[in-house]
């Protein structure tokens, strides 16, 4: 079935190599951490540490918590990262008896989110408090979803507005609604053109990869921390390639730069 014409796409030799190297290095990171050779500590993420504070405030005020993963599909990394955090928040809310609203825009997120949040309520020992109506799909069009969230946040006067996931233009709509409701706001996304709005209007912001590593940070599992260590090793490789490549290029040796293009 597969004949002998198998070849690597031109221009992708480097990528294939990097892809394999990356998997290997992350594997190494996991191995070193799980075996206890290295004990890496992840830098503090104030945004994640503030989650409990925001839920606590909602408890005091007797007002709900709103969490959204934005407009990404279930395969979007930011949505997957957001869901991990949502599981934790939902459980805390269930324990403290705070109403928890979860919104998203892509239908593929629906079953996963429902299952995750129902499970969180069960783990908290209050499965009867779970209402599927609070896990809301508000159409898959960006701005009608945003309108729905805007209305919900203001009407329910949420005390904590957690925006962790994939956001595009609607980021400011959400944070403005949160401001009107007087909520603590924690936000995170990797979309560079939405980060400025989160930084200026929200209380805490997870910038780019901080959002994606948040799940590992919260879990404190050795294996998960190991992947972060591996990720940092790849970063070092990138930095080294960049540093050495630049210096060589400036003194006139362009080989490394050319190799990067193959």
């Amino acid at each position: 079935m597969f004949d002998a014409t198998l070849s690597i796409r031109s221009g992708y030799y480097g990528s294939l190599l990097m892809f394999i190297v990356a998997i290997g290095i992350i594997g190494l990171g996991i191995y070193l951490t799980v075996k206890g050779v290295l004990k890496p500590k992840i830098r503090r993420l104030p945004g994640i540490d503030a989650l409990d504070e925001s839920i606590g405030r909602a408890t005091e005020l007797g007002r709900p918590v709103h969490f959204t993963v934005g407009i990404g599909t279930i395969s979007n990394v930011q949505v997957i990262a957001g869901l991990s955090i949502a599981g934790y928040v939902a459980r805390r809310c269930a324990e403290l008896g705070v109403r928890f609203f979860f919104t998203f825009s892509e239908p593929t997120v629906q079953p996963a989110a429902l299952d995750l949040i129902r499970e969180a309520y069960t783990l908290a020992g209050k499965p009867e408090d779970f209402s599927p109506d609070n896990v809301m799909w508000l159409s898959d069009r960006q701005f009608s979803f945003a309108t729905g969230v805007m209305g919900l946040v203001v009407r329910e006067k949420v005390a904590a507005n957690l925006l962790l996931g994939y956001f595009a233009a609607e980021s400011l709509i959400f944070s403005e609604a949160g401001y009107r409701a007087g909520a603590i706001q924690i936000a995170g996304t990797t979309n560079s053109y939405q980060i400025p709005f989160f930084i200026t209007t929200c209380d805490y912001t997870l910038i780019s990869e901080e959002l994606i590593t948040a799940g590992a940070y919260m879990s404190q599992e050795k294996g998960q921390i190991g992947t972060i260590l591996g990720q940092d090793y790849i970063r070092v490789i990138g930095l080294a390639l960049m540093g050495i490549g630049s210096i060589l290029y400036v003194i006139g040796i362009k080989t490394l730069t050319q190799w990067l293009g193959v």
């Binding site: 221009g11 960006q142 595009a168 233009a169 053109y193």
Partner: protein
Amino acid sequence: MGTKGSKSFIEKLQELDVRYVYVLVLLVITVPILRPIGIPPGKTSPETLGLYRYIDELPSKSVILMIADQSPAAAAECQPGMLAIMYHTVAKGLRVLFYASRTDAIPYIDDVMVKVLGKTSDHPDYGKLYVNLGYIPQAEVGLTGLASDVFFTNKDAYGNDLRSMEFFEDLPKKDASDWKLAIYFGASSLDWVVRQVTDPYGCPTGGGVAAVLVTRIYPYYPHSVIGFLSGLKGSAEYELMIQKPAEAAAGMDAQSLGHLAIVIMIVLGNIGYLASRLKSQGGA
């Protein structure tokens, strides 16, 4: 600012209801729309120039792919640019292949063809110089398919068979390496065009994008993205370069005043903030 009156004014400014800000924005933008004041357009930005020159220097009959990805929400920014580029390509006698990567962008292709050519599939050059592939689902995946085989969809938007069209006859490879430029119109992301067309096939990317997207394009500019129109301003510049000022150029006054208003808001907000900080430091 030392007097008692001005201090309380600053304090009042700090507590101002945001709705007054809204009213101000509405006024600042409405007035120049109804009564243009004629602020001179200024220099053309290098990104617009890059795209204009590249298209201008293409030999006639070169193939350009135009990807319509503008939702109704972003069309206000992208459509004037798409029109201006289309005028230019028609004047240069280039071949244009259209496709929509989302369903709500379909009408914008017809809109461009009607406004520039007067007709869509009934136009005598349709099938020779212009082909509208219609909607191809699954943005990135769809483009990957189209890039590896131009007959990916088999039929055009109006149900005509692609293989019988003169447009494709003299294309050597029938994949993206035949194209000279792929222009993306929209507001969501241009990365996937670079990823699926420029990097694998060497066909450069251009853009007529919403200004939000602009900062995300710079990492690819100018080596992969040869030039782009940034929002309404870029479209207005292009309109002026092909000497057909239209909708975008008409909006420039409102644009200028709008920006000025927001800068003034930031300054006012910061004056209030600094004043209250100085005061609290003085008191402590």
